[in-house]
Amino acid sequence: MIHVVAFYLFATLVVCSGALTILSRNPVHSVLWLILAFFNAAGLMILLGAEFIAMLLVIVYVGAVAVLFLFVVMMLDIDFAELRAGFVDYLPFGLLIALVLLAEIVLGIGIWSAGPIELAQRAGPVNPELTNIQAIGALLYTRYIFLFEAAGIVLLVAMIGAIVLTHRARGGVRPQNIAKQNRRRPQDAVRNVNQPVGQGVEL
């Protein structure tokens, strides 16, 4: 009973907040609706028993990706009149995308009603005793180890690429050298002078 209520609650909220993500005029509101959609998707994952995926969804998407989205969108100078002005110009393009998506949905339903297809066989029998994390780990680090590590390398290359593209050496900056500061002792920096009255100090 409570499962059914929870499912419809989460599912409705995902759909509604997804729609509001597109419909809201203010980009910051869009990002916030998107975050709500992520949250409710995580709730659906928990209902499926995939608690690990649910937590990752919240940590990665809500905790990191959406924060960066918000970070960028917050800085925009929002001009509401300009946002509305583009509506007619983009209408044909939007309709085209809508048509393509409609065709895909019709095709998908057609295939689904034609009969069940085995898209992917289970890689191996999953031991019901194992928790989510152990089951995923056991699969990821044995059968899919090559793909997993390759994905890691791709991400590493992308990260280095981003750093190389945006990094530029600036001249004229004097960054703080903390090791040098810590090595400095009072006797290197301070000198006590017993100065006669009326004379300057020779530095």
Binding site: V28, I59, V62, V67, L70
Partner: protein, 349 residues
Amino acid sequence: MTAFFNDHGVPYDLAWLLSTVIGILLIALPVMLAVAMLIYADRKIWAAMALRRGPNVVGPFGLLQSFADGLKVMLQETIVPSAANKALFLIAPIITFTVALMAWAVVPFQVGVVLANINVGLLYILAISSLGVYGIVLAGWASNSKYPFYSAIRASAQMISYEVSIGFILITVVLWAGSFNLTTIVESQKGYYGFLNGNGFNPLLFPMAIMFLISAMAETARAPFDLTEAESELVAGYQTEYSSMAFALYWLGEYANVILMCALNAILFWGGYLPPFDWAPLYMVPGILWLFAKILFFFFVFSWVKATVPRYRYDQLMRLGWKIFLPTSLLFVFLVSGFLMLTRYGGAQ
């Protein structure tokens, strides 16, 4: 507790709901009371270190100061700036406060005394604590004012930076315990060298304990990492435009987060509800008292640091997070997993 209601003729669904609600209240109300008392304690400790008296007028020894402040704040007028985004402006403090309370759901107070004993407890805490930044960012943006906005930008960069190293630190603990469940993690810390309880006594995890304490301060934006509300630069940071109850919610949320981080320090590295020594008579003391003693100790450390350490500059904060904590915690993930491969999991094959 579900079983208790079930035995007294309440149907299972209702019994479960009832016991969960009672459990939530049993955790949330004491946490709020603890927040009030710890704000007082924080002010007293801070005052003592500055050779001042601190609050001493309301009630005996000033004990009722926090409640008087709370009452005052409740009676004040809520002012919403006319240029603010009204809905978000009011939602932001609620988010901060709710998120600070939510994480307590998985904290084990004793063997089996936990609201939700879930497999992914530590991930849940990581997920919830990554939400804390929204309360601040939204406040900064919705206030439509310059200082809160600067503060929001600082907060999001700071929290993301330190969450990365916190994640790696947690992974070392998880590797050692072999589980994400907080109760299992606490139980796995029994009997170091036969008589000590706590991961902190493990030479491989002790540096992580220190780094976690420092990262916890950065994550909760406490001094010396309180760049988000640096009064000399940003007035009051993201709280600048807030007044009355909304302001109080930030205050409560901040301290609830601090207590949570103290509890996490105790649970992950210093044995949680276990006594510090693995000696039978010490187990006679209820575990919850040990946990409270450890939380109070770490809270004292937090106030001590707040009273004595000057605030970091922003580039120093970023340097510490990315250039020191991140590589060090990565190195320790490597060391811990290597050590466990050699000893516990049968070595190289």
